[in-house]
Amino acid sequence: MSGEALRVEGVHKSFGKLEVLRGIDLVLAEHEVVCLIGASGSGKSTLLRCVNLLEPIASGRIVVGGEEITARGVDVDVVRRGIGIVFQSFNLFPHMTVLENVTLAPRKARGLSRSEADTDATRLLERFGLADKRDEYPDRLSGGQQQRVAIARALAMEPQLLLLDEVTSALDPELVAEVLDVIRELAAGGMTMLIATHEMGFARDVAHRVCFLDAGRILEEGPPEQLFGVPREERTQQFLQRIVAAGRL
């Protein structure tokens, strides 16, 4: 691992009176995969949306690839081109075919020609086993296929950092594996990823590091074998016990 891909320092965020993030500090090295775990409402999704500048932060700073993206006067559109995000509910564009979904941003934001963008997108879709779906509309695809298209759409911008926000939570259980396999492949290829997830088994085997979020703070972090095996904090232990009791680990 070489340089630093992401640095989050003292980030606070509130929605009205509700403090969702209460001082987050986090550093990702290039090619590192970090999983965020924690109960619903602990701030995982909000943190990802802040890193993508979809939510403004109240205080603190976020640095991506050496550039402070929360500084005044930063062009958010340029920043976002380098940071991909995939959402829980896919958010594909329903009026566009799979190919159009994947090529829209490369053409309009990166200025690729249609044929360049089509070639790149077709290669991505082939890699994810979606070549035969390129002219379909999203509504005709299964949830797992839609989510793989969404990942391809984010990757088509060739981001240096990929954020995944509970990307399997909206899927039927039998479709989860196909999406997780794609993410494992990306991890193996060296993609830097920050992943909010409820899939503990997946987190355990894909993450270099796992962070446990509780009430807007990173309460505990460490390598997966340590965090899942011998958690130090009582809150972490309680959370993991509930997960085990629910049969999810």
Binding site: R81, F87, P94, H95, A105, D139, R140, R153
Partner: protein, 248 residues
């Protein structure tokens, strides 16, 4: 329906009603004249609609601009929509149609057709902008978020992601307002411009018979019905294309 027909045809005044509104000979005689005049209605609503559709979209987009910077523009759009939806169309037509040429300014057009179109555009742009706006607001914010997250600008997200979905959803209410516009072209007759309704009025005073009004009504309905079926077809085609998998 049958009940209404029975009640009406059995009413004591049915004979007089029939003679006044349903005179076959007068219908045939006045039809060509009124049809001629009706082309003016067609010209009016086609010309007006040509301006209304883009202008209304522009007003709707102004209203959807985010942040305090754009407050004055948003406020302006709101005041405009409130004002022109509030004033009766016939007043706007009269004020512009009689008022503007009366100003006596050499650079102000005096054509009443021109001012009639302007009046219809002002009124219907206000209505149609509200239709577009409801369409824009019906597109879930996660769509714009997804577009922005890919690095598209606000304008690009609107242009390529939000508006195409919004416009598709509001095609039926857009058509509804288009039909309203077609009918309101009859109000232009108050300026003395001889369109279908005005021609019917002239024929009515000449014959002391109301049948010419029925001719005008027939013509308006004759273009509304195919338009309504066309919209149904458009909506159905779109649904088939996007949701075939889900419906199957």
């Amino acid at each position: 329906m049958t009940v209404v027909v029975v009640i009406v045809t059995r009413s004591p005044g049915w004979g007089a009603f029939k003679a006044y509104f349903l005179d076959g000979e007068i219908y045939r005689d006045s039809f060509p004249e009124i049809l001629d005049a009706f082309w003016l209605n067609v010209k009016l609503f086609l010309t007006a609609e040509l301006f209304i559709l883009p202008a209304a979209l522009f007003v709707a987009v102004l209203r959807s601009l985010p942040g305090p910077v754009f407050f004055p523009l948003r406020a302006l759009a709101i005041v405009y929509a409130d004002l022109f939806r509030g004033i009766p169309t016939i007043l706007v037509i009269s004020i512009l149609g009689f008022g503007m040429p009366a100003l006596g300014l050499s650079w102000v057009p005096i054509s009443q057709f021109f001012w009639a179109v302007v009046a219809l555009v002002l009124v219907y742009t206000a209505y149609v902008s509200e239709v577009y706006r409801s369409g824009i607001e019906s597109v879930h914010p996660s769509q714009a978020a997804a577009a922005r997250s890919l690095g598209l600008t606000h304008g690009q997200a609107l242009r390529f992601v939000v508006l195409p979905q919004a416009v598709r959803r509001v095609i039926p209410p857009l058509l509804n307002d288009f039909i309203g516009l077609q009918k309101d072209t009859a109000l232009v007759g108050t300026l003395g411009v001889v369109e279908a309704f005005k021609q019917a009025q002239i024929d009515q005073s000449a014959t002391f018979n109301g049948t010419p009004y029925l001719v005008a009504a027939t013509l308006f309905v004759a273009i509304t019905i195919p338009l309504a079926r066309f919209t149904d077809w458009l909506v159905a085609r779109d649904r088939r294309r996007q949701q075939a998998g889900r419906l199957a």
